[in-house]
């Protein structure tokens, strides 16, 4: 499990990649995903000095020792309960956009069937301007709410 410094350097690396990719259409859709993973590492950095320390190790478990929630759901709960509405919305916007950019439709919820896609790939669904906004505005807003110097 990574510590504060590792999370921070990984977050910065992912953010740099995101900034590069969004300026290189048609690769800009992957910039959104890199930005989301930057946001995760910035959040884990913030969480490291708090009681939970890591999302994965603080997930509540049942008596059968199984996780009650997925790491994504638990992290969002931590974001929602510990941070501002602005931080929550920024984080959720990045997550949702990155999921859409990677999958477009949610075939993973019905693995037995053929996936059903919208009729265009992710670089056409997200314009380069959308991607730049998500990386430069939304990710910066999340960092600001976490108290990380932009």
């Amino acid at each position: 499990m990574a510590d504060y410094d590792i999370h921070l350097s990984q977050a910065k690396h992912n953010e740099e990649v995101a900034k590069k990719l969004v300026k290189e259409p048609p690769c800009h859709d992957w910039g959104i995903t890199a930005a989301f993973y930057a946001a995760i590492h910035y959040f884990e950095c913030w969480l490291f000095n708090r009681a939970e320390k890591h999302t994965e190790t603080s997930i509540p478990v049942g008596e059968d020792r199984k996780f009650l929630y997925t790491p994504h759901a638990w992290r969002e709960k931590l974001v929602e309960t510990n941070l501002s509405k602005e931080a929550f919305k920024s984080f959720r916007k990045l997550r949702d956009a990155s999921e859409t950019a990677r999958y477009l439709s949610f075939h993973r919820i019905h693995p037995g069937d053929k996936p059903s896609w919208i009729d265009k790939p992710a670089p056409a669904y997200f314009s380069p301007e959308d991607a730049i906004k998500l990386v430069e505005k939304v990710l910066n807003s999340f960092k600001f709410e976490l108290g990380i110097k932009i």
Binding site: G62, D64, A73, A97, F106, S116, K120
Partner: protein
């Protein structure tokens, strides 16, 4: 509720409540950390059925336990009702499905859009935030898949519950 007496224990085929949640509630009742008048909310997956054995000395707790678990079920239904009520006001929302994963409620809000719409996402996330604050005891995951040409039967799990469709 039917109770069967065994040597020193009573057994009851309870409604499909999760075993660990049942035990958690029972412990809280025993420790008097929860009264029947309190609202203690947990998510109870309906797909899990367990036969619970209760010690004789704990049998008096059952009415409180049923009360508490019923409240939890009611709250979950109320949350789904509020979700449908809120999101149906957004014209781009085509349908809403719910499925359970572990103890969390996964909400799929299918939106009819052809391009990413940041203003729409703002609107949807404002609503999601309100729902989460209204029901802090529940853990959600919301998804907003674009579904312009998709048919819901192609990518929604057969067990998922439709709570809104237009």
């Amino acid at each position: 509720m039917s109770l069967q007496s065994t040597d020193t224990r009573y057994e009851s085929n309870l409604p499909p409540y999760s075993l660990h949640i049942f035990n958690e509630l029972l412990n809280l009742l025993k420790k008097k950390q929860m009264k029947a008048s309190d609202t203690y909310v947990v998510y109870i997956p309906e797909s899990e059925t367990e036969t619970i054995t209760i010690d004789e000395e704990d049998i008096y707790l059952i009415p409180s336990l049923f009360w508490a678990t019923q409240k939890a079920r009611d709250l979950e239904r109320l949350a789904l009702y509020e979700i449908a009520k809120k999101f149906r006001r957004v014209k781009e929302v085509k349908s809403i499905y719910v499925q359970r994963y572990g103890e969390e409620l996964q909400i799929f809000v299918l939106v009819s859009v052809e391009k990413y719409n940041d203003d729409l996402m703002d609107k949807l996330l404002d609503m999601e935030y309100d729902i989460r604050k209204m029901f802090p005891e529940l853990v959600f995951e919301f998804f907003y898949p674009p579904a312009r040409v998709s048919e819901k039967k192609d990518f929604i799990h057969p067990q998922a519950e439709c709570i809104f469709s237009r």
